[in-house]
Symmetry: C2
Subunit: 119 residues, 2 copies
DNA sequence: AAGATATGCCTAAGATTTTTATGTATATAA
DNA sequence: TTATATACATAAAAATCTTAGGCATATCTT
């Protein structure tokens, strides 16, 4: 993630997709792509959109990198490709989250933002 | 802006440079490029690096967009190009910060991160 | 005095990631 | 029947960053 430019407020930030995918799969065991897009929309009240054009290439890349594995399940005449973390993928979860957290702290410092501690 | 991928931890996040520049200049009236790189390094204890290769093109783009204006000052035999916010640039500060803040909140929701409220 | 580092600007090639626009197919709701 | 939802995917183009320079002056070390 470099510093750059965010445009529309309903989209995601360059540089966070891998971390989001790892996080989702660390909580849910297995998910399919379309499900992830819905999940992100749901979690953010529709404010963030994970587009399929960004998601699928990222999933394929992560699979090629050995972070994810897939299993196909057929629902009636349609099939879903479920992704789940490999051992390697699992190991990367905490470090990626820590990295992101560190980055956010730094950005808060620079921008002097106040994000609710909140629950 | 979309979700994507952060690599090295010492670099900046894609999509935040414009906001950082606006914020710095909203606090300091005028700054020159090199000074901004030092400021970011200082603010983050050396953890984030604003590279000149990313910064200068961004400054030029923002100037072309009418957000910034420049004045040259000569210090001995060397010159500095100071950037300052235009009226238009000034108006964009709060909305950009709000956008970034909203984005961070959403990411916290998804990633379940806890950033200290702090201070 | 020489050499290294710091200050200060800049660009260009390449890589990466995302946007936008499609394409295909099945299922369900209007 | 038509539109929307589900579900996968790719490809061209745009955007942004990394890396790697280049140039010039000033200061600090040895």
């Amino acid at each position: 993630m470099y510093i750059h430019d965010m445009n529309a407020s309903n989209q995601l930030f360059r540089g966070s997709l891998t971390t989001i995918i790892l996080k989702l799969l660390s909580e849910q065991e297995k998910m399919y792509g379309y499900e992830m897009t819905k999940k992100v929309k749901e979690l953010t009240g529709g404010e963030l959109t994970l587009t399929e054009g960004a998601l699928y290439p990222a999933l394929h890349k992560m699979e090629a990198a050995g972070l994810l594995e897939t299993t196909i399940e057929n629902i009636g005449n349609r099939s879903r490709k479920y992704y789940h973390l490999t051992k390697k993928g699992n190991k990367e979860v905490p470090s990626k989250l820590a990295e992101m957290e560190a980055f956010f702290r730094q950005m808060q410092t620079i921008l002097n933002l106040r994000l609710s501690t909140g629950k």
